[in-house]
Symmetry: C2
């Protein structure tokens, strides 16, 4: 069985994804995690802010591993890009448009109110950009273009998460996915067939 600290982290990540940072209360967290209230302050003496930062870093790491796994399972970055978007669309549909980006809502909420949490979100996003950059350069795309392409893919995905969740439709993420896939394809060096 998972320890209390792990349960608090997992539960908080889930609640943040759905309700955001200010929308999630500590009492709701301990109730959902079947943990005593005092445990939050036992494991996170800095209170909600420290817990929040830990959760953002943890969620960022988990999503990094997910994206990395998808690209590693794909034969090439074009397929990897397509799989990331189609997988995200499938998860959205399966979870009734709840499970999108695990930290986007929190990132926007704290961008101008909590410097430690903003930095945690920025670090997470930049780690995702790094793995995309590496995958693209490994496929022969030049470093400067690979950096731009990573940012373009990230923006398309995050914007599509916002639009799909708000309109409760997977159409935006499918369209954004096709565009991103085509952009990666176009950036690849010419193939000798």
């Amino acid at each position: 069985m998972a320890g209390t600290k792990e349960r608090i982290l997992d539960t908080t990540a889930e609640l943040f994804r759905r309700y955001g940072y200010t929308g999630t209360g500590l009492k709701q967290i301990v109730a959902d995690a079947n943990a005593p209230f005092g445990s939050v302050y036992h494991f996170f003496p800095g209170g909600k802010a420290e817990l929040g930062e830990a959760v953002v870093r943890r969620s960022g790491q988990m999503y990094l591993e997910l994206v990395t796994a998808v690209f590693e399972a794909a034969p090439d970055p074009v397929t990897g890009t397509r799989d990331v978007f189609s997988g995200a669309a499938a998860v959205l549909r399966e979870t009734d448009f709840i499970d999108a980006c695990p930290i986007a809502t929190v990132a926007l909420e704290v961008a101008n109110t909590s410097e430690p949490m903003r930095r945690a979100a920025a670090d997470a996003f930049e780690s995702w950009l790094d793995v995309l950059h590496d995958r693209f350069t490994a496929a022969g795309i030049g470093a400067p273009r690979a950096s731009e392409l990573a940012i373009e893919l990230f923006c398309s995905l995050e914007g599509a998460f916002l639009l799909s969740r708000t309109t409760r439709s997977v159409e935006p993420i499918l369209i954004a996915g096709r565009a991103a896939t085509a952009a990666v394809q176009a950036a690849l060096p010419a193939q000798v067939s």
Copy 2:
């Protein structure tokens, strides 16, 4: 001088943009708006939820007018697209990365908690997509492609807002803007010069 109701609406829009829906308190709103507390319930009997929905619709309308004005001032949709992104980048820089999308934070917060507010945000986003669609078809782009292109542009802009605010850098929005501009250019029918 503006009426009390207008002041409440304007102030709430400003606070929502910075702190989100759950992060903004009614007491903070009336304090910033120099309005008596009771005025909120006088003008918005439904309380915070009714005020929130009105603010989202109002902000959506104002941003629609802004985007429309930028495209009308531009000689062609390629220039219009570039101006939207460069203008957004300039505002971000001038406001210390506070003023980005006026409703994205709220939209993510309420996507799974308030159906009326979610619908208000969806209506706003769709009205922006409509004006983009109309601008693109007016330039000779076919209707199906124009719809996709509008969604692609929206996603790029919103994702870039998220990344730029979080990393406190205009680089993402400039890169996303270049990509979106190129996509619009590529979608235009061949020019006879």
